[in-house]
């Protein structure tokens, strides 16, 4: 990192996820400082500024950009406002971190990225799981050739509708999630796809999606149109993948399985473990007996590694967010490549469009 003055950061959208951003930015005082926050509801901006002792808060985004002249803007508003807010920040000369989902459509995403390129400013998006410790470990093992050539990938994203956010969506037919083209999926399946882009190089793989609604509760309003189960298959030229979004399977799991020509890797984002399938290498009954112990040893090793991280004070929920923000700031300060390529942002946006085009609300009824 260079010895430059810390980047001046402003944030718009003082909802729940904004807390995570501010907390992580504050862990890197040499890189950046949060100078101001904004929300169209002034009270929301005020509460954020109060709780985190942030020097300034606004209910006018334009005025904040004008007055504060930030280097970086974090956009943590609902996705419907991402395009105008990002454009305004770029036009004001700021680099922009946008929360996922990027926009409402591929066309919007493409226009926005072109706008950023024209402005000569950097953009990134909150695909934080790409930088979570298990993802880093997975990449290390892949580079070592632990599983050989990748044939298939499975991406699983469990969701709890009874959680804080899920409950808010279910309590309110006017919640912004219900207005997204892909509704609940639109706010989540970035996280299915952003684990696949490193394995599938195709611009436009063949995508098939099936969605349905499993829950019984009916409100008689637009909430009933929301699917809660989704299965996706992605057929690339060399590698294929399938993804699952589920709001009902318990425990609420979050993992990737990478199927190689030599072995299978299980990357678990919930328990932060990365393990290989043991496979039988010894003959007959011995071959069936030994692998369970091999598997146990792997989990022991993973547990020990996590315990060591915990002892160092380096075992946080927002590890990936922290790493992504740091990489983004460093790429601004050092004019280095982006942590997430614009090509991947666009591909995910396109793939999401393809999914939403195949699922209709009628099916959820």
């Amino acid at each position: 990192m260079s010895q430059k003055a810390p980047l001046k950061v402003a944030l718009v959208g003082c909802g729940k996820i904004a807390d995570g951003h501010v907390e992580e930015i504050r862990k890197m005082p040499a890189r950046a400082e949060v100078a101001a926050v904004c929300d169209r509801e002034l009270l929301m901006a005020e509460q954020m500024a109060t709780r985190y002792s942030i020097p300034a808060y606004y209910d006018s985004y334009e005025r904040m950009l004008e007055t504060e002249r930030p280097d970086v803007v974090h956009i943590t508003t609902p996705p419907q406002s991402h395009v105008p807010l990002t454009r305004a920040a770029l036009d004001a000369g700021c680099h922009v971190y946008v929360e996922k989902p990027f926009t409402l459509s591929y066309a919007d995403s493409k226009a926005l990225i072109e706008h950023a390129e024209k402005a000569g400013k950097k953009l990134t998006i909150g695909y934080t799981f790409m930088f979570d410790p298990p993802a880093l470990e997975m990449r290390r093992l892949l580079a070592e050739g632990a599983i050989g050539d990748v044939v298939r990938v499975e991406s699983w994203f469990g969701y709890g509708l009874g959680g804080q956010f899920g409950a808010a969506i279910m309590a309110d037919p006017a919640h912004w999630v219900h207005a997204l083209p892909g509704k609940l999926f639109h706010n989540n399946i970035d996280h299915l796809f952003n684990k696949l882009t490193e394995f599938i190089d195709d611009e436009e793989p063949r995508i098939r999606a099936d969605a349905w609604c499993r829950r019984q509760q009916r409100f008689g309003d637009r909430r009933d149109d929301m699917h809660d189960e989704l299965r996706i298959t992605v057929l690339g030229k060399r590698t294929s993948a399938y993804g699952t979004f589920t709001a009902h399977v318990k425990p609420t799991a979050h993992f990737v399985r990478v199927y190689g020509e030599k072995n299978i890797m299980h990357v678990d984002y919930t328990t932060r473990t990365v393990t290989l399938e043991p496979g039988a290498t010894l003959p007959s009954a011995i071959g069936r007996l030994v692998p369970a112990f091999g598997q146990a040893l792997q989990f022991l090793r993973e547990g020990r590694r996590n315990a060591a991280a915990f002892a160092r004070g380096d075992f946080h929920f927002f590890s990936g967010l922290n790493r992504l923000i740091a990489m983004f700031y460093d790429c601004i300060s050092a004019d280095a490549p982006l942590p997430i390529s614009t090509r991947d942002i666009l591909r995910i946006s396109l793939w999401m469009d393809r999914v939403f085009a195949q699922i209709s609300p009628e099916k959820s009824r």
């Binding site: 909802g15 729940k16 009270l43 309590a171 409100f219």
Partner: protein, 338 residues
């Protein structure tokens, strides 16, 4: 005269509606969200067929809904608040929703009975056993407390600021620990359940209970007393148990449970350690105990209810009977074998 009750499907909402109807309110509007549990509310309403009760499904954190809720009302019992969740969500559903409610009045004259909380008092620096009454200073360091305390404090300020500029009769009611059938068994003042083990943190502190029906009566009493305009009232019952006594009674009447008493000096030490660890580890574990929070919740205060009694309130259900009813209900909820 039209009376609005927000949070009518909540724990206090049903008994409050019952109390209002029993005391002669005839024109009532209640905010009851679709999907919320309405049994208690419906039962209360069904016992008073003479009253006109209008149920509306309104999301108070949407300005148009909030305006619709207050349209034409003269008195508002504002109970709706978020008790848990992310700080920003709690703030939105409590403070911002209150702002929209006030905006909806458009400067019109109204009486608002705001249900606040004991958590707004700044008690961390008071000596142990100090008596807290309505003149005790408010919390000066809300950011050092839990989000709920901050949110309720900001909500009170919002109403006071509004009342200073508009023809608003504001009555603030601050209940202690509201308990009863349908409520939760333990306030954090008694202790916390940590990984299946109950830590008894309250010890010999007085547990400032108010039985849900008594609390509802108190809110109505303050709401209807002409002299209450601009005043604040603590709500707490008489003959209160210590936290230990409450815990023992629970164990005897509901179910046996393992618990470990944590003396205050030990808690204070633990809090200092956790606060330091939280800072060192950049929040790897949540700072549920800090010296300031612990002093606020478990420091041991007594709360005064004489001002409330001066407007004619008396607890209808004695504490012993309230605990008996509550524990009987909790016992019914406990699955066999526990």
């Amino acid at each position: 005269m039209t009376v609005l009750v927000t949070g009518a499907t909540g724990f206090v909402g049903g008994p409050l509606v019952e109390s209002l109807l029993a005391q002669g309110t005839r024109d009532l509007r209640v905010v009851a969200r679709k999907g919320a549990r309405r049994e208690r509310l419906d039962a209360a309403v069904s016992r008073h067929p003479e009253a006109r009760v209008q149920r509306i499904d309104a999301n108070l954190s949407a300005p148009a809904d909030a305006a619709r809720a207050v349209e034409g009302v003269d008195v508002i019992y504002h109970l709706a608040a978020s008790m848990r969740g992310a700080p920003a969500d709690m703030f939105l559903n409590t403070v911002v929703a209150s702002q929209y409610l006030l905006d909806g009045l458009r400067g019109r004259k109204a009486r608002i009975v705001l249900v606040s909380s004991f958590s707004v008092y700044g008690v961390a620096e008071l000596p142990r056993g100090a008596l807290v009454d309505e003149s005790t200073p408010l919390e000066a360091h809300p950011q050092r407390r839990d989000p709920y305390a901050y949110v309720k404090l900001r909500q009170e300020r919002l109403f006071r600021d509004h009342a200073a500029r508009h023809p608003l009769e504001l009555v603030v009611v601050r209940p202690g620990v509201i308990y009863g059938p349908g409520g939760s068994p333990f306030s954090s003042r008694v202790g916390l359940n940590m990984f299946g083990l109950f830590l008894g943190l309250g010890g010999r502190n007085i547990l400032p209970l108010t039985y849900v029906d008594n609390c509802a009566d108190a809110i109505v009493a303050a709401g209807r007393a002409p002299q209450a305009a601009g005043e604040t009232y603590n709500v707490v019952d008489d003959d209160l148990p210590t936290c230990d006594a409450y815990l023992q009674a629970y164990k005897k009447q509901v179910r046996p449970m393992r618990s470990v008493p944590v003396p205050y000096p030990v808690l204070a030490l633990l809090s200092r350690g956790l606060e330091r660890y939280h800072a060192w580890s950049h929040g790897q574990l949540p700072a549920i105990f800090t010296p300031y929070k612990s002093a606020s919740t478990w420091g041991g205060n007594r709360f005064d209810n004489s001002k409330l009694k001066a407007v004619g309130w008396r607890p209808r259900i004695a504490t012993e009977e309230g605990m008996r009813r509550t524990f009987a209900w909790l016992r019914e909820q406990t699955p066999a074998g526990h």
